[in-house]
Amino acid sequence: MTVENRELADELFEPAQEQQSAKSISRPAMTYWQDAWKRFLKNKAAFAGLMLIALIILLAVFGPYANNHGYDEQNLARANLPPKVPILEQVGWLGFDGVDNRGIDRYEASGVTDYYWFGTDNLGRDLWTRVWHGTRISLYIAFLAAAIDLLIGVAYGGISAYYGGRVDNVMQRLIEILVGIPNLIVVILLILVLKPGIMSITLAMVITGWVGMARIVRGQILKLKEQEFILASKTLGAKDKRMIWKHLIPNALGPIIITTMFTIPTAIFTEAFLSFIGLGLQPPVSSLGTLINEGYKLLGIYPHMLAFSSIVISVIMISFNLLGDGLQDALDPKMRK
């Protein structure tokens, strides 16, 4: 407990010179979104998901034009060709050498000199073109459904929570009944009535799909309404417009984005499912679902017909789920489930 006195010079015991007491914050000011983006970039899986989605969207847009085969161009002379890709064809086990699972080079057998990167189907249509064309349709349906869900859900949930009281009560009863109905049933019945098509499939999904978003938004707004900064704004006399656009929407945006990110893969799945049970798009239009459904018919003999569409749909689903998880961590760490 004793300290050597000699070591400590007398000056040390003089009052200290003015210290930098008013320490200003040195970090540059960062908005919430910049902060969230930084957190998001740290999550490698989510970032990979984002990149994969970007890649798939690019392929869906430009892929069909990468060769000169049309998606509905039939030619029985070149039916059932396995995939064949230049350069990769040298590596036998990759399966891109045009040889089918009985060891016959189908290209030689049918005298085809072109390369069909993903092979062809039983009508001789180029699968590369069909898969990316199908991806485009599937993504289109999914984005459209997610966007409509978002609009209806935010409006419904927002109005219900913001006005509260009796309005909320009535609107909530309706939702409670809707969630009691299995959405699968509604979707199937609606498509039976409306006839399969892009719009009818989208509509059928939206009919029950918005409920999830509405509940999330309502929960968020109710939580926010209790926050003291909302009360402060009210005591300052803020009008609805300001309240909604300055306070409620910016603070509820995170969960809304996250929910949308999870709506998209669900919609892609539902579309594929409908195709699968015979309620999907009608030929020659293809979607990932119809392709998978067709692929199943010849699974034992020509597995490539199922393989590519399955891989693409799985990658899309995984990517969106990873992205959704990543956004959840980045935007709202506490909400994570």
Binding site: M1, V3, N5, L8, D10, E11, L12, F13, E14, P15, A16, Q17, Q19, S21, A22, S24, I25, R27, A29, M30, T31, Y32, Q227, E228, F229, L231, A232, S233, K234, T235, L236, G237, A238, K239, R242, K246, H247, P250, N251
Partner: protein, 668 residues
């Protein structure tokens, strides 16, 4: 004296994204048999981590004891295996926690939860364990233990739950009981009961208690010895009266000075500037130096060792070094000056009540909420009082008494079920024109409780402060708007650089200042402050209170100050209303109320406040408020607020009124 526990050079770190946070940086202390050691400090001082480390209950990862020994009965707890630790936890050393609402398993009956501990350590049959549990429930003051045994935590009130937690902790007659802020989440009257209970259990069972708290009043009440922690270190330790009456460390002085003394009339609270350092990068030297206006050069360079003041009293400050004698003299002079300023005991009281004009009149206000179809919560149930221009009216009461609802109803956030609120003779509730509403919104402003939820995290500080100006179109040009923001920031003691920052970059005290600036931006006349300091640390509380007082002087503001901390309310208010179950039960000038409380509830509330003065605390008698008894005495007599003496109103019956009057005249 026999030592039951000795901690030597304890270091605890947490690995976080921001790097290693050294929460505890070399803590040493011992605990004598049967004594109570209080560890006191502000949030982030490491007191809670220290206490959890003793039982190795810090989550690992990220937390880790990096160095040090915890000696208990010759064993080093830091080196034991997890299995060996389990046989010590709950048996030899047990612990109670801060929040009784969350520290019990919601899906297990309380009987089972207590039995678990008994079965684990005492190896008896189930029947024996049950008998023991019933005994324990009785011991901690829970009536009808057989019935209570099978109930779930949600069927108990907060205070009762804390009793259950205590029963659990003492079930195996531990030698050491660690209490981590056990009364912080409770109302003062309940706190007083729990403290009594702990003291009586200690007497019966002879256990030693380590009591973690931030409240110096509680320390004075319960502690034999006190250790003050700051920035992960113990900076002063000694017997309670040594630390309270002869504090050596400048931080301890500051802490003691920052608490208002209810017995005195004070001008200004002593404040500690700034905020505690972040322990990811602890400062060199004395961690407190940056907040100490009289720091010496050496404070910034070298860490002070523990200097001995007496056999039992040590402090880690260079002021105790012999070469610092000169400085010490200077600082102590300042300190005594501060004390003498404090010492103006309740003499001159400026009477404001009745003088100015009435700014706000509340008449028979009721605010009911429907909880569901069949139940109505009567948050405010017939409330009447007036507030005069320029005064500070304090509204005090325990949780659930309706005081916060009152604030919100007055400002129009709720519509009021019945009754009337007149602001400058105009009803707040009646339909108004747009201009009138605007005028009212500008005129009455509010400061909120929670510094975290009261600022929109997506807006910059400038936008937050300017919100009122934007709404009412007061801003003018963009440049004028920013100038006004800078001006306001400086008024509340912040820097203009802060304007383009986001709220999450600020500490609790700074956020509260931003909230005040937002309210000031529209030039209000009347400010409702709803528990503005209850979420802040003691030293920061004083800063905010002083700021509010300064603003009142400069701008002639009128305050309604809502709080549960009677000492603070008494310090800042001219008049005080005591609320109980949605009604005011007593209303008087603050000194009058303090010196001559009449209503039994006020008396119990006042007597429950722990004072940072050990001598007083340990001789102090608590009074209990027995509502049932009062009601049965009253029978069906008419109860209303009656003016017992000029400006002193009490809710009472005619008979009680006469009693009170004779009491007051007798006292004079």
């Amino acid at each position: 004296m026999e030592r039951v526990l000795e901690v030597k050079d304890l270091h605890v770190s947490f690995n976080t994204y921001a790097g290693e946070v050294k929460a505890v940086r070399g803590v040493s202390f011992h605990l004598n048999k049967g004594e109570t050691l209080a560890i006191v400090g502000e949030s982030g001082s490491g007191k809670s981590v220290t206490s959890k480390s003793l039982l190795r209950l810090i989550p690992h990862p990220p937390g880790k004891i990096t160095k040090g020994e915890i000696l208990f009965e010759g064993k080093d707890l830091a080196a034991l295996s997890e299995k060996q630790m389990q046989s010590i936890r709950g048996a030899d050393i047990s612990m109670i926690f801060q929040d009784p609402m969350t520290s019990l398993n919601p899906t297990m009956t309380i009987g089972k939860q207590i039995m678990e501990s008994v079965i684990k350590h005492q190896k008896g049959t189930k029947q024996e364990a049950k008998e023991r549990t019933l005994e324990l429930l009785e011991l901690v003051g829970i009536h009808h233990p057989e019935k209570r045994f099978d109930q779930y935590p949600h069927q108990f009130s907060g205070g009762m739950r804390q009793r259950v937690v205590i029963a659990m902790a003492i079930s195996c007659n531990p030698k050491v009981l660690i209490a981590d802020e056990p009364t912080t989440a409770l109302d003062v009257t309940i706190q007083a009961q729990i403290l009594e209970l702990l003291k009586s259990l200690q007497k019966q069972l002879g256990m030693a208690i380590i009591f973690i708290t931030h409240d110096l009043g509680v320390v004075a009440n319960i502690a034999d010895r006190v250790a003050v922690m700051y920035a992960g270190k113990i900076i002063e330790v000694g017997k309670a009266h040594e630390v309270f009456y002869e504090p050596q460390h400048p931080y301890t002085w500051g802490l003691l000075g920052a608490m208002p003394d209810i017995h005195r009339q004070e001008e200004e609270l002593v404040t500690i500037p700034g905020a505690p350092p972040h322990l990811a990068a602890p400062p060199a030297g004395d961690a407190f130096a940056a907040r100490n206006p009289n720091a010496m050069e050496i404070d910034f360079l070298l860490e002070p060792p523990m200097f001995k003041v007496s056999d039992t009293h040590y402090a880690a400050t260079w002021l105790l070094h012999e070469k610092a004698r000169k400085m010490r003299g200077a600082q102590q002079r300042k300190q005594t000056a501060a004390n003498s300023r404090k010492a103006k005991e309740n003499e001159t009281v400026i009477k404001k009540s009745g003088k100015g004009q009435k700014l706000l009149e509340v008449k028979g206000l009721k605010q009911y909420f429907k909880s569901d179809k069949h139940h109505v919560i009567k948050a405010i149930d017939g409330l009447s009082f007036d507030i005069y221009k320029g005064e500070t009216f304090g509204l005090v009461g325990e949780s659930g008494c309706g005081k916060s609802t009152t604030g919100r109803t007055l400002i129009g956030l709720y519509e009021g079920t019945a009754g009337e609120v007149l602001y400058k003779n105009e009803s707040v509730f009646k339909k108004k024109s747009g201009a009138e509403t605007q005028q009212l919104n500008r005129s009455i402003q509010m400061i909120f409780q929670d510094p975290y939820s009261s600022l929109n995290p997506r807006l910059t500080v400038a936008d937050i402060i300017a919100e009122g100006m934007d709404i009412h179109g007061l801003a003018g040009s963009r440049q004028q708007r920013m100038n006004r923001v800078y001006e306001l920031l400086e008024t509340v003691g912040l820097h203009r650089d802060h304007a383009n920052r986001y709220p999450h970059e600020f500490s609790g005290g700074q956020r509260q200042r931003i909230g005040i600036a937002r309210a000031l931006a529209v030039d209000p006349e009347f400010i409702i402050a709803d528990e503005p300091i209850s979420a802040l640390d003691v030293s920061i509380q004083a800063q905010v209170i002083n700021l509010l007082k300064k603003l009142q002087r400069e701008k002639g503001l009128t305050y309604l100050f809502i709080a549960h901390d009677l000492a603070m309310v008494k310090y800042i208010s001219d008049r005080i209303g005591v609320m109980y179950k949605g009604k005011i039960v007593e209303l008087a000038e603050s000194n009058e109320l303090y010196c001559r409380p009449l209503h039994p509830y006020t008396q119990s509330l006042l007597s429950a406040i722990p004072m940072p003065d050990p001598r007083l605390e340990q001789s102090h008698q608590r009074m209990k408020f027995d509502e049932q008894k009062l009601l049965s005495e009253r029978k069906q007599e008419e109860v209303r607020l009656r003016e017992v003496k000029d400006g002193h109103w009490v809710e009472c019956t005619e008979r009680e009124f006469r009693e009170y009057q004779s009491k007051l005249s007798g006292a004079v």
